[in-house]
């Protein structure tokens, strides 16, 4: 196998890794701050992409549907809409069930995701078919031997990594990030310190959901296509990545995201039938869970008896 | 004097850098009731958890009779005849009083798949026997409670839940009963009644030894044969309640006297 092909696989793997990490970062934020798994997350990724698509349709009506400017507008639209949705969801479904068994939260969000998916399929114009996603990024590429380095891929990697690093800095460096981390470590003590618990939770859910929207849009721009069912697999992959990395740690999410992308890439190269890549990747995840039951960067916790 | 039933030597439990229990020596004889006291966080519950296999000990040795039971799984410790209650009740609230008691009687029940699903003669016999014995046991604590054998624990007030938890620990006729603060959340009068009932039912269980963690000193004074005082994970005194409560180290631990 020559260098160009390897580099091609590598580049593809990196884009995937960035997308997965963004989704996983959301899972990790929610889990960190409230110890819940919000399983509708994958469908929020999808809904974010579709919101952007709708925004694009609006721009086209105004004859503004071209170029980087349009890309920026639809991205902002998707992120804002999903951030709002995330906060509303936390307020309506997740906070009220805070003292119920954790499984109930998992189920109720699974079902919310299903509802979201079905709503798009049924109510988005022609939503049950794959929709082409507009090509808004500069269509340039450089070739090095067999490697065609597309400028848009590079752009997507930069924006995606930038977003994750941005969220990471927000959490690590700002006052509000301090509050988020305090709530994540010990909600009650955080409240004693004067932190408004509910506001921090809603903010975290908005943040994670906004990131999900960005992941969805990145996915759409990269593959030039979105469909109503794309969230399911992306959600499960994001969840796997977050869990394998160790829930509650942003680093874990990044490691998990790239690990999963790497496994898929290896699977695609390794097997004669590239479609086995998901089987291979999920098989590895199950084995990994057996080996490190609480993830690679696990947070220690002990039960009080 | 008979040889100790339970013999603990040098038991140490660590959580990370924290030594929750430091080289603890303890012996318990058959039929003895030992009060275990000490300020908050002194290692009392940690001792119970290490003894019952919930926390692995860092070092030390625990023997029951002639058997070494150090660091065994909780279910093996139970099989060996040590049962307990929990500081915060750990009953199955959605299940009936009888079900909860039968969880405690696991050792004496038949768990084969075949006989539980088919035939069921033995099951029927065990159920009937155990309904009777459960009722008898509950009656020693509270006659009205005995009539609510098939109600869910969820419907019971705190005092009755405590009683159920104590009965769950007693029904398998253990050698040693560990009571972790049975008075928590109850009034003086309720605590007194519970302890009286416990002492009375102990009469019917020859050989039963009890370790009691308790904050109400009045209770300890009234019921214990001997007291052990823990502070910072270390045993600081041992003896009769009178001796221990007069001990300057104990007073220092509780009252901060120099």
């Amino acid at each position: 196998m020559d260098f160009g092909l390897v580099a091609q696989y590598l580049l593809n793997g990196i884009v995937l890794g960035v997308i997965y990490s963004m989704v996983a970062a959301g899972f990790t934020l929610f889990f960190g701050v409230l110890n819940v798994i919000k399983f509708s997350h994958g469908d929020v990724v999808m809904a974010g992409a579709f919101t952007a698509l709708a925004a694009f349709a609006g721009l086209e009506l105004l004859d503004a549907g071209v170029g980087m400017f349009a890309a920026l507008i639809i991205t902002v639209a998707g992120i804002v809409a999903m951030a709002t949705l995330g906060a509303v969801l936390a307020r309506m479904l997740i906070l009220p069930l805070r003292n119920a068994p954790p499984l109930n939260t998992l189920l109720i969000t699974l079902m919310f995701g299903l509802a979201l998916r079905e709503s798009v399929r049924l109510f988005y114009p022609n939503g049950s078919n794959p929709k082409p996603f507009p090509q808004l990024l500069p269509d340039l590429s450089m070739t090095f031997g067999n490697l065609a380095l597309r400028l848009d891929s590079v752009l997507l990697i930069i924006v995606g990594l930038g977003a994750i690093v941005g969220v990471h800095l927000l959490i690590q460096r700002t006052r509000i990030g301090l509050a988020v981390r305090a709530v994540a470590q010990d909600p009650e003590t955080a409240r004693i310190m004067g932190i408004n618990f509910e506001r921090v939770v809603l903010l975290t859910f908005a943040l994670g959901s906004g990131l999900a929207a960005l992941a969805g849009i990145t996915n759409g721009l990269y593959y030039s296509e979105v469909n109503f069912g794309m969230g399911l697999l992306l959600g499960v992959i994001g969840f796997s990545a977050a869990v394998v990395g160790g829930l509650g740690s942003i680093y874990g999410a990044i490691i998990g995201g790239f690990l999963f992308a790497g496994l898929q890439t290896i699977g695609a190269v390794w097997f004669a039938v590239p479609a086995y890549k998901d089987v291979f990747a999920f098989g590895c995840i199950i084995v990994l869970m057996a080996w490190k039951p609480t993830g690679l960067l696990a947070e220690r916790s002990s039960e009080r008896v | 004097m008979s040889a100790p039933t339970l013999d603990v030597t040098g038991l140490t439990v660590r959580f990370g850098g924290l030594v929750a229990l430091n080289s603890f020596d303890f012996a318990l004889r058959s039929e003895e009731l030992v009060g275990l006291i000490g300020p908050n966080g002194s290692g009392k519950t940690t001792f119970f958890n290490a003894l019952t296999g919930i926390y692995p000990p860092a070092s030390g040795r625990v023997t029951l009779g002639n058997d070494d039971i150090t660091g065994l799984q909780p279910q093996r410790i139970y099989d060996a005849g040590i049962t307990r209650t929990f500081q915060r009740l750990r009953l199955a609230l959605s299940l009936s009083v009888f079900d909860n008691l039968m969880i405690g009687n696991h050792r004496n029940l038949y768990h084969g798949i075949k006989g539980n699903l088919f035939g069921r003669k033995r099951l029927r016999q065990q159920v009937e026997e155990n309904v009777e014995s459960s009722r008898r046991l509950l009656e020693q604590f509270s006659a009205p409670l005995a009539t609510r054998l098939f109600d869910s624990v969820f419907q019971l007030p705190m005092i009755d839940r405590r009683r159920v938890e104590v009965c769950r620990a007693l029904i398998s006729s253990p050698q040693i009963l560990l009571l972790d603060e049975p008075s928590a959340g109850m009034t003086h009068e309720e605590t007194r009644a519970l302890m009286d009932d416990l002492l009375a039912s102990r009469e019917r269980m020859p050989g039963l030894a009890i370790i009691l963690i308790e904050h109400e000193m009045g209770v300890i004074e009234r019921v214990s044969d001997r007291c052990v005082v823990l502070n910072y994970g270390q045993k600081i005194a041992e003896g009769s309640y009178r001796d221990v409560s007069g001990d300057h180290k104990v007073r220092a631990a509780y009252l901060g006297e120099d």
Binding site: R191, I192, G194 | G41, G256
Partner: protein, 237 residues
Amino acid sequence: MSTLLQIEDVISGYDQADVLTGVSIEVPAQQITCLLGSNGAGKTTLIRAILGLTPARSGRIMFEGVEITHEATHRIVGLGISCIPEGRRVFPGMTVRENLRVGGYTETKRDAVDKRLEEVFETFPRLEERADQLAGTMSGGEQAMLSIGRGLMSAPKLLIVDEPSLGLSPLLVKENFKVIQRVNELGVTVLLVEQNVRQTLAIAHQGYVLSKGRIAAHGDADRLRDDEEVRAAYFGN
């Protein structure tokens, strides 16, 4: 002498355990008031009620003449009540500096927070040495120090200290009590909740003894020191 915190006939319960059955206390400004009682007497429940973590079922809690009985915790804290919780509860995965910043969360001006940080570091030079160490990796004594420092970061009017002696060696307990006394001398009102009678009464001005969810005795520290009720609350005789 004005009353900073006033608790009237509070009834509260938590997890069906540790129930308060009508507790009234007054905390005068500028003083150290202590609340004594053995394990399970209801001390922690009372603190939770003051902070709004387990709101009182009935009764009233007033701070500076304003009723706070049913306020949200962050608002109560924002009024100038700070708490050093039982078991210290530092944020183990954060550095010492970050822990202190969380303590000053109610202050929105960065300059003010930095200034207080300086002050706390002056009081506890040890914390400055360890400013960038993760709190979870420090010894129990250092964590206790951090917890007190964190409680001071919000420049509180009332500082509630919940069992500072818990799990500490006698020497450290003594040090902690000295610090609390010093804080009080600087003008902060203190509500000190303790099991440890002698050392507490040595620094407190006045106190209450809580036993089984009721006030069993109250009065000046000197009077309580030799009170039979105090002994009874602990040793039941």
